[in-house]
């Protein structure tokens, strides 16, 4: 039973990686195809469609091969859970690498096509913004973060109240069936582990929320009214996603603490810790497909707005290394919308970008060290 759950979760992670890579050409902005900026309408060009098809075939074939590899490995390594874990990490990593190579081929194909066609030759390069953008309500209310603090405070309070009633050894790790397999001597520090994890999640979510609110507005000059409305919807939906996913995680960790304290059955924990990632993945897919990058898939009633004018988007391919890494010393923006896939990225020419990455790495390393030092 345990073994089958491991296999399923292994296959699920490959499905997720392959799905994410196969989906992104459809959810990216139609004016940036495989990281290359093109005029409106090029998306439907048969040569572009061919590049897209080859890319998706590549990703799917790689996914299938690696999934077969996973099943074989699972069969060969048998009950050795540690070996399975290591091999899975290696395979996921190699799969990402192969997908990256497939992407690079598509990116080069698009670049070649663009060089041949010289699409933006005569069009003016316009940048349009709304000077009142920051006065609009582009984010879900930050007051939701108060709910996080309430959950964390409740988790800590219940832990303290239960402390005296706890046995001297408390369960800290559970197997897939919900049986306690690891025990530790009780201490206040051990019980405060969970509120600590919850606080770190809160900080990360606050940071993501902040970076969405600060990110550059993205308006298509040829279609400004529609694209502005879409961009606002896009920001609101993803800020809501950030807030609710974080709240879900903090709550589930609180419930896990309850089963450590012996208040709830550990089977509830097992079910929830499987349900939460599944719910988040479904949320991501629904959001990605319904909204698209920049809100490009949101249907906006065009009747209210003046018709679109022909204009080229800014020609800044040279600032996007491989179409994916943004490096532009002349741009003071720190957070910008990605060209490949959905979401935001940083401008690597800003020193702050490196500070943030190092900060996140330090946070992850710190929490790993913290959890190892308490023996979990």
């Amino acid at each position: 039973m345990n073994n089958v759950i491991t296999l399923i979760s292994m296959l699920m992670s490959f499905l997720a990686v392959t799905g994410a890579f196969a989906l992104f050409p459809y959810v990216s902005r139609k004016t940036t195809i495989f990281g290359v900026s093109v005029p409106e309408g090029v998306y439907d060009d048969p040569r572009v469609a061919r590049i897209r098809k080859a890319y998706i075939m590549g990703v799917c074939i790689a996914g299938l091969l690696f999934a077969t590899g996973v099943v074989l490995l699972w069969y060969l390594t048998g009950a050795d859970a540690a070996a399975q874990g290591i091999w899975l990490s290696v395979l996921v990593f190699v799969n990402l690498f192969v997908n990256g190579a497939v992407y690079l081929r598509a990116y080069r194909g698009m670049k070649r096509l663009k060089a041949e066609e010289d699409w933006n030759k005569d069009a003016p390069q316009l940048v349009t913004i709304d000077t009142g953008f920051r006065k609009k309500k582009t984010m879900i209310s930050p007051l939701y973060f108060i709910a996080y603090l309430v959950v964390i405070a409740a988790t800590a309070a219940v832990s303290f109240l239960r402390y005296d009633a706890l046995p001297s050894m408390i369960p800290v790790t559970f197997d897939n069936a919900g049986n306690a397999v690891g025990f530790m001597e009780k201490s206040y520090r051990l019980l405060l582990n969970m509120p600590g994890v919850q606080l770190i999640i809160t900080m990360i979510m606050l940071f993501v929320y902040y970076s969405i609110s600060k990110s550059r507005q993205q308006v298509d000059p040829a279609n400004r009214d529609v694209s502005l409305t879409q961009n606002v919807i896009f920001r609101r939906r993803w800020s809501a996603f950030t807030v609710f996913c974080g709240l879900g995680m903090v709550s589930v960790f609180g419930i896990i603490q309850l089963s450590i304290l012996g208040i709830l059955s550990s089977s509830v924990t097992v079910i929830l810790s499987l349900l939460l990632p599944a719910a988040i993945i479904i949320y991501v897919i629904v959001l990605a497909v319904s909204t698209g990058q920049s809100g490009s898939r949101v249907k906006v009633d065009k009747g209210d707005y003046p018709p679109a004018k022909a204009a080229a988007v800014r020609e800044d391919d040279s600032n996007w290394k491989f179409g994916a890494w943004y490096y532009n010393p002349d741009d003071p923006s720190l957070f910008v919308e990605k060209r490949v896939g959905i979401g935001w990225t940083v401008n690597w020419a800003r020193p702050m970008a490196w500070v943030i990455i190092l900060g996140i790495l330090a946070l992850v390393a710190g929490s790993l060290i913290f959890s190892f030092s308490t023996g979990r």
Partner: protein
């Protein structure tokens, strides 16, 4: 207000920003007392250098269209602050000189020239009137 700049244009970007904000004031999309985005915010949204926006705001401040508050940032001035004065008339004359010189040189008649001026003036008057009606 919509602000559009053309990166391929010969007109410097700071001048385009200045002209864009001026048109916004004229059409009433920017009202006296309204604050503009901060230099950093505008530069970030346009994806251009901070100095360029700084220069545009500097020019607008010098011309009396905006004020730079320590707290509120750049704020649109009241119309009294930028009414045409002797200094402006002197500058207007100076700026018209090369334009008229070229037109004259190319054989544009004075009637044609004033016609064009009249049309452009009427266009902006219409913008301003639209603002009054709203």
């Amino acid at each position: 207000m919509w602000l559009t700049i053309d990166l391929t244009s010969d007109v410097p970007i700071y001048t385009q920003i200045r002209n864009g904000i001026l048109t916004g004031i004229l059409s009433g999309e920017l009202t006296p007392g309204e604050s503009l985005p901060s230099v950093r915010q505008l530069a970030s949204d346009l994806g251009i250098n901070l100095h360029t926006v700084n220069k545009a705001y500097g020019v607008l401040k010098q011309e009396g269209f905006i004020q730079v508050h320590r707290k509120k940032g750049a704020v649109i001035n009241a119309p009294e602050m930028y009414r045409a004065d002797d200094g402006y008339y002197a500058r207007l004359r100076e700026q018209l000189h090369p334009l008229i010189a070229e037109a004259c040189c190319r054989g544009v008649s004075i009637d044609d020239f004033t016609d064009i001026c009249g049309q452009i003036y009427a266009h902006y008057q219409k913008e301003a009137r639209r603002n009054d009606h709203e």
